[in-house]
């Protein structure tokens, strides 16, 4: 099983070249969001893809955009980019769909902005007849994948998964398993999330967002630091084309990486887990499950792209990696947080970060994590393993990517550099 295409729309870059540049140079995508200040949010910064108004018209017609919210637009742009990057042809509107290609494109919150801005006010005002025809397709959970299916002519399974912050990574695992079962030749996999005060308000109310760096947005996302004070909300989309090796070879596709294995599970809100906290045992089982399926030894992992959001959980996560891989702290693989650059893109996070993982494998580098110069004291023993500054790593062979989400859910996927 291999990855043949990547597409990304992130707060710090659209497209692989821009995203790679931003990762390498440590360019933050976190900006001050005036609307959040006006609305008295505690956290007034966020990660929002830039220039989408100009970008979207290159990808989507007026008729399509009329019925799409940002969540759907982001998914469509990243999916079309991934499809194009994989060298796959666009299917004519009057042709048969591609029966062998499908999609698992997740979202965490979905079209809540459409509900809050349009559906609820008009419905409550007795103006249902003024809602128009596009409400359902924008608020149904599967709105993002459904739109992509039509744009690309997908004829295999097309669905939207949702497991909070684990969504994008879970999508990759689900797509991987479907191809492995022989039920599809290739699957688009990843996640998307719009940006909206309505998506972010609930997190702000929980006090899980950092409200201490509104005047210094680039310093606001601080995973693994002693001064971590909550995550920064993000948005965007990341999509991979997963494909059977036989299919990739048959069409002479360029191969980004191999997918060795993946695992998802849940902690059942037991053994220290809850709706909002991870059960350490289940996190470790998840990582071990992925490693076992990959058929590798833990010491073969070169780089961990962690979940690492900048909440209290970061030191626990790193310790869980250590325990799962059964290594001493100084032997932990290198570890990084992409969220330090783009914030936490919720349902899109796993997708964008899987793209970052595969991109680093393909281009031979490990990007630095911003804002953890003041490493959390509990991470002292791991200090040498945290990638602070981007380094070229031509020998990079195996990357482990994990995501953990509300609901006590976990996902882990192992990518390896492809060699014949």
């Amino acid at each position: 099983m291999v990855v043949t295409g990547l597409g990304v729309l992130a707060p710090n870059g659209h497209g692989l070249e821009a995203f790679e540049r931003a990762l390498r140079s440590g360019e933050s995508g976190i900006r001050f969001v005036p609307e959040l200040a006006e609305l008295k949010f505690g956290c007034q910064v966020g990660g929002i893809p830039q220039g989408v108004d100009q970008i979207q018209s290159r990808y989507l017609s007026d008729e399509e955009l009329f019925a799409m919210n940002p969540n759907m637009v982001y998914a469509a742009i990243a999916a079309i980019d991934a499809w194009t990057d994989a060298g796959l042809p666009r299917i004519a509107p009057d042709a048969e769909p591609d029966w062998n290609s499908g999609a698992v494109l997740g979202t965490g919150i979905g079209g809540i902005d459409t509900i809050a801005e349009k559906l609820a006010p008009k419905t409550d005002a007795g103006k249902v007849a003024r809602l128009g025809s596009t409400m359902v397709e924008q608020i149904m959970s599967s709105g993002n994948s459904a739109r992509v299916a039509g744009l690309l002519g997908l004829g295999n399974q097309v669905t939207t998964n949702s497991s909070a912050c684990n969504t994008g990574t879970e999508a990759v695992v689900d797509a991987f398993l479907r191809i492995r079962e022989g039920r599809a030749e290739r699957m688009l996999a990843g996640g998307s999330e719009g940006h909206s005060r309505y998506i972010w308000a609930g997190f702000d109310a929980m006090k899980v967002l950092n409200r201490t760096k509104n005047d210094a947005p680039a310093e606001a996302s601080r995973p693994m630091s002693a001064s971590a004070a909550g995550f920064i909300p993000g948005s965007g989309a990341g999509v991979l084309v997963l494909e059977s090796l036989a299919s990739a070879r048959a069409r002479g596709a360029r191969i980004w990486a191999e997918v060795l294995g993946g695992y998802v599970n849940c902690g059942g809100h037991r053994l220290g887990g809850s709706m909002t906290a991870p059960n350490p045992t289940s996190v470790q089982r998840c990582i071990r499950g992925a490693v076992a399926m990959a058929g590798i030894r833990p010491d073969q992992i070169d780089l961990i792209n962690g979940h690492l959001t900048a909440t209290f959980a970061d030191p626990h996560e790193v310790e869980n990696w250590r325990a799962a891989l059964e290594v001493s702290p100084e032997k932990l693989p290198l570890i990084q947080s992409t969220k330090s650059l783009i914030g936490h893109a919720l349902g899109a996070a796993g997708g964008i970060e899987c793209v970052a993982s595969v991109l680093q494998l393909g281009r031979g580098f490990a990007h630095g994590s911003l804002n953890c110069e003041d490493l959390h004291p509990a991470l002292g023993p791991f200090a040498g393993r945290v990638v602070h500054r981007t380094r070229d790593l031509p020998e990079l062979r195996v990357v482990a990517k994990a995501s953990f989400g509300f609901g006590d859910v976990n996902g882990c996927v192992i990518f390896q550099k492809f060699s014949e």
Partner: protein, 82 residues
């Protein structure tokens, strides 16, 4: 507003929904909104809403259901404004 002016305004309203731009460019009164202009049938609801706003009229559901061609829409608008 003349019938021709109403016709042009209706064509402009339909334009973002039409998937057959060449048919729209040569649209006539008898041009079918669904068959010729390839407007998604679900979007007729949105076309009618925009007509209501643009011409400041109210279109009853049963009248909206009868609109098949651009001419049908023009006739409905002209009658409502009369």
């Amino acid at each position: 507003m003349t019938e021709q002016e109403v016709f042009e305004k209706v064509v402009a309203i339909i334009k973002p929904f039409a998937k057959a731009p060449e048919a729209l460019a040569s649209a006539k009164m008898e041009t079918s909104i669904l068959k010729d202009l390839k407007v998604n049938s679900a979007r007729l609801v949105d076309v009618v809403l925009e007509i209501e706003d643009a011409f400041e009229i109210e279109v009853k559901d049963e009248d909206a259901d009868k609109v098949k061609t651009i001419g049908d829409a023009v006739k409905l608008i002209v009658e409502a404004k009369a």
